[in-house]
């Protein structure tokens, strides 16, 4: 795939992430923060997010399985997770977090369980999509170099 095609691919991938509701405005904010001092800022943030969130998911899962369920604690965890997910603009993940918190407030253990599974799924899906995106973006190279005459 030549540079032009690559770049177009990157653009399409990026656009679909937004169109399909995976990412929100925050992602664009991160992109705007990216500059020469931090040329891979967005990817770094995404990496950081996935590293931390992947660690907290098992903790939440454990707390969920414990009975009787401590909804306050679970709500606290999820609040944290939601905040974290908002950092990269993980829209669908955030939505699941919110749903989970609603169930917590209602004391609905089953609802929490179901939502948690959905959350994990969204979390993983986004990760894959972002990884592919970043990879493609790296391949396509920065716009500047692409424009530089060979």
């Amino acid at each position: 795939m030549d540079k032009n095609q690559s770049r177009r691919q990157v653009r399409l991938m990026r656009q679909s992430l937004f169109d399909q509701g995976f990412l929100d405005e925050q992602f664009i904010q991160l992109e705007e923060l990216q500059d020469d001092a931090n040329p891979n800022f967005v990817e770094e943030i995404a990496t950081s997010y996935y590293r931390d969130s992947s660690r907290s998911l098992p903790t939440i899962e454990l707390a969920l399985e414990k009975t009787p369920r401590d909804f306050n604690k679970l709500d606290g965890y999820m609040h944290q997770f939601k905040g974290s997910s908002s950092s990269i603009g993980a829209k669908k993940v955030k939505a699941e977090c919110q749903q989970f918190r609603e169930y917590c407030k209602a004391g609905n253990g089953e609802g929490c369980m179901r939502t948690f599974q959905a959350l994990k799924k969204e979390h993983a899906t986004l990760k894959k999509r972002l990884e592919a995106y970043f990879q493609m973006a790296r391949q396509a190279g920065p716009i500047e170099t692409a424009c530089r005459p060979k």
Binding site: Q29, I45, D52, Q80, K82, G83, S86, S87, G89
Partner: protein, 616 residues
């Protein structure tokens, strides 16, 4: 405003703003760091609240603003907020992904300058400098007003004993200034350029503060005083000055909370109480109620309508009593503070201190002279007291909060002019005293009524009132915020007290009303200025006689009815120490125009005045 920012980065302000970001989420920490760096701010990140507090304590003047997340594992964000507010008095911005009204409200109640919702946008961070700026302005204003109150105190203070509760004492002024400059433990943002030396700060840990609060509650707000608190706390290494300054800050904190409540005042009085009580729950429960009352009452009366204050000539007796309570606190504090501080402060304070003692003597004389003023005071105080026994306390807060807001028109005038006078009187030869100087003068002119915070102790209880003043000053010193209790309510009441009130300019709050309602006052103010000018000139010349002339002039101008004995005081004031007319420097042109003063005053003071004018 310009005077408040003295750091080198002022030129490009807000670039270089030193921000401390606290968030347990490392991803957010990275993002915020990047965002703030893009705003050209100086960023320090921190993942733990405790770590943040350590950083803040280590580098007392190292940060301008704190941005903190609400939910953190080691410490509640609100708690951190409280600590920062109490110990460092820095503006704090809260962040959270949770935007529920109750949470936001809690944040504001605890003293947050702002509450941002995650995800945070760059533009939101870009404007955080306004909180730093605003705080500085308020500090200036507070100091100004505080000093003016003190000034008045000086004049009217006839008692030697701070602890006795002077009414006004030079010492108060000096001590307050001293505290501000020298003993400025928590006031990192001491814009007062006079503060060249800062004593080692006492770190008020949670335990220590709890002890303090417990002691305060035990004693009772209306009777609290640094000495009593110190005794109750039973902390060997703690000094009376430490307690005094902390008490001042505490009051400011309360008033700050009240202010926040005030902002919500439109929602209703009850709400205020709710908020305030919530805020202070852990610490200031009692105060909350007081504050609330104060807010409702004081703010209503003091803050925004000098008329209210004035009109309420409640029974002086009760006032006095209440006031006395208040006074006791400050009096004890400032006095000691000042004396103790004098040697410490390398600044002018020492000179000031000297004066204070001389002042006290003279003040004594004055005390006897102002029956009228006392009356006024009492009436004004009445306003405060009528609300509740805790009024005294409330008053404080009211003052604190209100004072900075409003400078009476006259006051402003006075402040400008009296400055030189005051300086002389107080022997504040050093430039840093601009604020106090002004205030002093104003106080003088304004006479007793303005000292409203002090219980108008009819007859010779002036000392009592003066006491209260000192406390305020202390607070102002430390917090550099709104503490100008005395000034606000009283004098401006002009309306009710035809003779004196008019002359009393001090009332910040009333100022608005006064200036609008009383043309007389204006005239008086003008007269005053003239008098001041001449007095100033005289003073500058270094002659003691100016005071005499000033006295006359003041008398004419200010005390239509009674003479507060300022004349006496003035005469007794030592001018020798005042050698530096430099204070009378640049005064914002607009201020001049507005006030029709002719000589320059400390710009910082004017800035405050400006603020005051606007604030109404």
């Amino acid at each position: 405003m310009e005077s408040s920012f003295s750091s080198p980065r002022n030129d490009s302000f807000p670039a270089g703003l030193r921000v401390l970001v606290v968030d347990d989420d490392p991803t957010w920490l990275k993002i915020l760091e990047k965002m703030l760096k893009k705003c050209s701010y100086d960023v320090t990140t921190c993942g733990l609240a405790r770590e943040a507090l350590n950083l803040l304590r280590e580098k007392k003047d190292g940060y301008d603003i704190v941005v903190s997340d609400v939910n953190m594992p080691d410490m509640d964000g609100f708690k951190l907020l409280e600590h920062v507010g109490l110990e460092m008095d820095l503006p704090v911005i809260m962040m959270s992904v949770d935007g529920e009204t109750s949470r936001v409200m809690k944040g504001v109640q605890h003293g947050a300058c702002d509450y941002l919702l995650k995800p945070i946008r760059m533009k939101e961070l870009r404007n955080i400098w306004q909180h730093v700026f605003r705080k500085k302005i308020h500090e200036i204003r507070d100091i100004e007003s505080h000093e003016s109150i003190e000034g008045i105190q000086l004049i009217r203070n006839g008692s030697d004993q701070y602890d006795e509760g002077y009414f006004f004492s030079a010492e108060d002024l000096t001590s307050s200034r001293k505290r501000k400059d020298v003993d400025n433990k928590y006031d990192d943002k001491d814009f007062s350029d006079c503060s060249s030396t800062k004593k080692a700060r006492v770190v008020w840990s949670v335990d220590l503060h709890q002890k303090f609060v417990k002691a305060v509650h035990q004693i009772g707000f209306d009777k609290v005083g640094p000495k009593k608190i110190l005794d109750l706390m039973n902390v060997p290494w703690l000094t009376r000055e430490n307690v005094a300054s902390h008490l001042q800050k505490y009051r400011l904190y309360l008033s700050r909370l009240q202010k926040e409540n005030d902002i919500k005042s439109s929602f209703g009085g009850t709400k205020h109480s709710d908020y305030s009580s919530k805020d202070l729950q852990g610490i200031l429960s009692v105060q909350n109620s007081i504050n609330i009352q104060q807010n409702d009452v004081a703010h209503g009366s003091y803050r925004f309508s000098g008329n209210n204050l004035v009109a309420q000539n409640a029974d002086p007796k009760s006032n006095e009593g209440d006031i006395k309570g208040i006074d006791s606190e400050p009096v004890a504090e400032p006095k000691k503070g000042t004396t103790g501080n004098i040697p410490d402060s390398q600044k002018t304070r020492s000179s000031q201190m000297d004066f204070s003692s001389s002042y006290t003597e003279t003040k004594k004389g004055l005390v006897g002279n102002v029956p009228h003023s006392q009356k006024i005071r009492s009436s004004q105080m009445c306003v405060n007291h009528s609300f509740a026994s805790v009024e005294s306390e409330v008053n404080f807060t009211a003052f604190d909060s209100t004072i900075p807001a409003t400078y009476s028109w006259n006051q402003i005038q006075l402040e400008k002019e009296p400055k030189p006078l005051i300086q002389l009187n107080n022997g504040f030869s050093k430039p840093p005293l601009p604020g106090p100087h002004h205030h002093f003068q104003v106080d003088q002119l304004q006479s007793i009524p303005s000292i409203s915070s002090r219980p108008s102790i009819p007859g010779g209880d002036v000392t009592g009132s003066s006491k209260s003043k000192p406390s305020y000053s202390e607070y102002t010193n430390h917090h550099g915020s709104r503490v100008s209790p005395t000034i606000s309510p009283t004098i401006s009441a002009t309306d009710s007290f035809p003779g004196q009130t008019k002359s009393c300019v001090v009332d910040h709050q009333v100022s608005e009303t006064i200036s609008t309602s009383t043309s007389n006052m204006k005239n008086q103010g003008i007269n005053l200025s003239t008098d001041l000018e001449s007095a100033q000139r005289n003073l500058i010349l270094g002659s003691t006689s100016p005071f005499a002339s000033l006295d006359d002039e003041f008398q004419i101008c200010w005390y239509q009815g009674d003479c507060y004995g300022m004349n006496l005081e003035l005469q007794n004031i030592e001018f020798s120490e005042y050698t530096d007319p430099t204070h009378v420097t640049e005064v914002p042109a607009h201020l001049y125009d507005a006030l029709r003063f002719e000589y320059p005053c400390d710009p910082s003071e004017y800035c405050v005045l400006d603020q005051g004018l606007f604030i109404a």
